[in-house]
Structure formats: C-alpha cells, structure tokens
C-alpha cells in the first residue's frame, strides 16, 4: 500500500494552485519544509512570505493579503495556527470573512515523539465554532490534494487539518471530492461508523473485521466537519439505528460532538464517540500512541459491539 502524508498532499496541491492561479500566495512561520510550503517557495519565490516565528503576525498579514484579493495559504503546526492565534483568526480572519486558507499540519497524536506541546488535539473544536469557517479533515494524501485545491475555489476562510505521518491511502484517485458532502465508503445496515482523518483507515479495517462476524457496517468518511453533511448523518441514523464516531482529537467538541449535535436534534439513536478522552498527548511512536489512546481498529470493533447492544430499532 502506498504511504504518504496529508501534509505532502497540501504541498503538492499548492504547487498546482500556484501554476494555475496567480492570486495564490503562501505564508509560513519558520516551518516551510515541515509544512511542505517550501516546494511552492522554490517555484514562486515572489509569492512566498516567510514570517519568522511569529504566528499572530502571520495571521494578520494573511488577512491583509486576502482583503487585497489574494488567496493566502498559511502553513504551520496545528497547535501554533489554531489555539495560539485563535483571537487573530476570530477577528482578523473570521470577522472580516477574509479568504484565508490554513494548512494546519502536525495535527493529532500521530505527530509522535515531539509530544503533547506539538500535538494538536483540540483544533477541530476551536475552529468549528468560528462563524464562516469551513473545517476539512482529509483522510489521506490524495484527499488532501483535492481538499486543498477545493479550498482555493470557494470564498471564505478554510481550515485544513493535516498530519505529519505517512499513512496508507484509503480514498480513490478518481473519487469526487465535494466540500460539505460526506463520502460514503461502504453501505451497511446494522450500524454506521463515521470517521475522519487517520481514523478512516482504522475504521475501514474495523468494518472488515465486523463484516466477517456478520455485522453490516456503513462507513462514512466525514472529511468536512463544517458545514456538516446533515443529510448523510440523519440518513445513517434512520437506516442503521446506531452511530459510532472515530477521530484523532478530543471527543469534547470534535467531529463526534458535531455528529452528535445533528443526531440529537433530528433522529436520536445510540452513539459512541471514540477519540481522546480529556488528556494531553505524549511522546512515543505514532502507532504506540494510537494504541495507548484507543485509536485502533480493535477498539472500534469492541466499542461497535457494545454499541449494538444498546440499539433499540
């Protein structure tokens, strides 16, 4: 299986965008290589802005560029380009409805050895409460390319949640990508697993295991957290009667919470959210951390079976 990271997808898409749209500019705060923005710099040096280790200023500068008709993509680690600059994103970007795109790399615990300070596991929660923001979590490298390109084509602020680790490719090259439209990877009737980011791969594995045991699983890749695909979620709730969510993020306020909000208001069914449970991350190898925090196919299988016992319809 091909292994590539979503940050690579971001960098590759920036190059393509740079070639087709002169309005695209790229900023980074001393993390050009880590965010794969340096590929763009090499080809378009005059449209690349190095901002130094100064994320707050980078956000404002990006807003100013956007207010002048540019389409700025600013890249940094998830922790530095969300919580650290949340007020700048709120006022300079969101309140201005500035057309700024955020390439937020090194999200989740799969950052690995750098540990808690560098593992963004609250960013979905922080970003989805900002009015006007679109929040996208690509599942793999191919989808990251598509999402980055799609982000440039809509007006308004977009948050792209990307990862550092090289991961298996789970989506198809020719699959359509539409912002706000969930990707149904597999139909099923006993329960629905809704996943995003690296957890799509784990969930796909879990679905295969469950199928072998005679449980029919619908698998949804919810790559857009906001605007959320209410239709797909309500349909899944009605047709399968149980929903399990899986994300590499705090369960509080994250993708699972966003799904629960839709389910609760429209078609309440038993739910289970898998994610990080009010803890910080820590140093370790990505796969060790995934096990430590229960972000594995095995845990999804276990929790899916527990969830099925609570099913009422």
């Amino acid at each position: 299986m091909k292994l590539k990271s979503t940050r690579d997808g971001y960098g590759e898409a920036l190059l393509r965008l740079g070639r087709e749209n002169p309005r695209v500019v790229v900023l980074t705060a001393d993390l050009g290589e880590s965010t794969r923005s340096h590929w763009f710099k090499k080809e378009f040096p005059e449209r690349f802005f190095q901002m130094g280790v100064a994320e707050a200023d980078m956000v404002g500068t990006a807003a100013g560029l956007a207010l002048s008709g540019k389409i700025p993509f600013m890249g940094s680690f998830g922790v530095f380009v969300t919580g650290r600059v949340w007020d700048q994103l709120r006022v300079s970007v969101a309140y201005n409805n500035a057309n700024v795109k955020i390439g937020s790399t090194h999200c989740g615990i799969t950052v690995g050895e750098d540990g808690a300070t560098h593992q963004a596991i609250e960013d979905i929660a922080l970003m989805r409460v900002l009015p006007g923001f679109t929040v996208i979590v690509p599942a793999d490298n191919i989808q990251a390319i598509k999402a980055t390109i799609a982000a440039a084509k809509i007006y308004g602020p977009v948050y792209l949640r990307l990862g550092r680790a090289s991961l298996p490719v789970v989506t198809k090259e020719n699959a359509e990508f539409n912002i706000g439209k969930a990707e149904i990877l597999k139909e099923g009737k006993d329960l629905t697993i809704i996943a995003c980011g690296v957890m799509v791969c784990q969930s796909s594995e879990a679905a295969s295991i469950l199928e072998k045991e005679g449980i029919s699983v619908r698998l949804i890749n919810l790559h857009t957290i906001k605007p959320i695909d209410e239709e797909a979620i309500i349909k899944a709730a009605k047709e399968t009667g149980a929903i399990l969510t899986a994300e590499e993020h705090q369960v509080m306020g994250g993708m699972g919470s966003a799904v629960a909000e839709v389910v609760m208001e429209n078609c309440p069914v038993p739910m289970k959210r898998i994610g990080i449970l009010d803890r910080f991350g820590q140093s370790g190898k990505p796969e060790e951390l995934m096990r430590e925090y229960g972000l594995t196919a095995e845990n999804i299988v276990k929790e899916a079976k527990n969830l099925l016992k609570r099913k009422t319809i």
Binding site: G52, A56, G60, T61, G64, L65, P72, Q88, N96
Partner: protein
Amino acid sequence: MKIKELQRICLEVRRDIIRMLGEAGSGHPGGSLSAAELVVALYFSVMKHRAKEPDWEDRDRFILSKGHCCPLLYAVLARCGYFPVEKLLTLRKLGSPLQGHPHNLEVPGIEASTGSLGQGLSIANGIALAGRLNKKNYRVYCLLGDGETDEGQVWEAVMTSNHYHLDNLCAIVDRNRLQIDGKTADIMQLEPYPEKWRAFGWYVIEIDGNNLAEVLGAYLQAEKIKGKPTVIIARTIKGKGISFMENEVEWHGQAPKKEEVEKALKELGERI
C-alpha cells in the same frame, strides 16, 4: 485643502463624536478626540480615495488598529460622503452598521474589522505586500494607540514591515500617554519609544499630532522615505478640544451625559 478648512472639519468631526457618544450612552471619546487631526488630514488632504467607489482598487488604505476609536473614523467617513451623516446617531444601537468596534462587512470605507488590539499593523503589512505584488502605487496608513503597542503582535508586525522594506506603509501612533487603566508610563513603560522603532529599522517622525501643519508635513515627508517603513509618533492630548476631558484618563471609555454633551458642544463652538 487649506489648513483653515481642515481645522473647521476637525471641529465638525469632534462635534459628531460628542453627539454620537452622547446618543449611544457608551463608547470611547478620549482617543477619538486625540486623533482627529491625524485622521481628518488623511481623508481630506493626503489619501487618494473615492467615497462613492469605496472599493476603487487604486485607493490608499487606512486601517484603524485602535478600533475602539471608531467614532472618529465613522464621523470622518460620513463627512467624506461614504454614508449619510444622520446614520452617525445609530452608533452602537441594535441593527446599526456602526458597531461598537468597526466591522468592514457593514460599513463602506472600513478596510478591516478591528477592535481586538494589536492586530491592525499585521493586516496593513499584508495589504502593503499585496500592493507591491500587484504593482500598485497605493499607500497604506495604520493608526495605533500608544497603549496598544503593549501588545506583542505589534512588534512582530513592526519587524515584518522592516524585513520586507515596506516603504508604502506609514504607521501613526497616537501618543496621548494615557490608556484605560492610567498613564502609559505607569501601566507599561514604553520609553525609550522612538528609539525602539528606530532600532526595529523604521524611519521615525515625531510631531505634535494636534497641529495640522505638522501632521500634513509628516505625511508628506513619510511619502518620500524609500526602502523602509515610516512611523509618525504623534504627541497628542487625549480628549483634545473638550476642557474637562483633556488628559483625564476616565474619559478613555465613558460617554458624556446630556449636560456634558451640551457643555462640550458649546466648547466646540456649537450654538445651542
């Protein structure tokens, strides 16, 4: 425009500010009044702009980083013809485009929403960089409060303007020496202030910011400085023009009551 005419407009704008704040019952008179000459000179003499075409792409841009002083900017925009002067009295009222802090999606002529201090100069840098990329000759002006420069982001932006040699950018600091909790010198020492800006690579012009001749001269001089950004450190009087507000810290963020409005307007030459 002659200085006499600009002085007349400053007086008019100060009256607008008092009337607006009196009507709103809240807001920030001190810093709105101190910066009147700085902003009036820009809009009525220095900047290229078109009130009837706020998005004209060659316009000079003005960013009010100290967003709480928007009564001043609203009054100036209205007097320029961006929107009817009568609208001014809707300041801070439900449904009014004239929000307590400026919102660019609501008011023609507002370049950027501001109000959370420290963010305007970064936005101004972005606009200046875009101007250079687009080979436009427009200039970017950014007004900051002196207290506002306590914010770390300001100094990040100050470094950026220098790093990118943004000579199409001019920052103005309203150095009225007061901020909400007291004297700037007591709250957070800014001095040696001009030296700080110089050390960060800026060309510094120091003036009496309530003297229109000096203000106009500074803007003219700033345009001629090439290869680096310019900051005008404008010594001003907070609450300028109203005897009981001048240099009084409590007028940072409280509106005048009815009798205070009348007294202030009388001082500003209005017959009541």
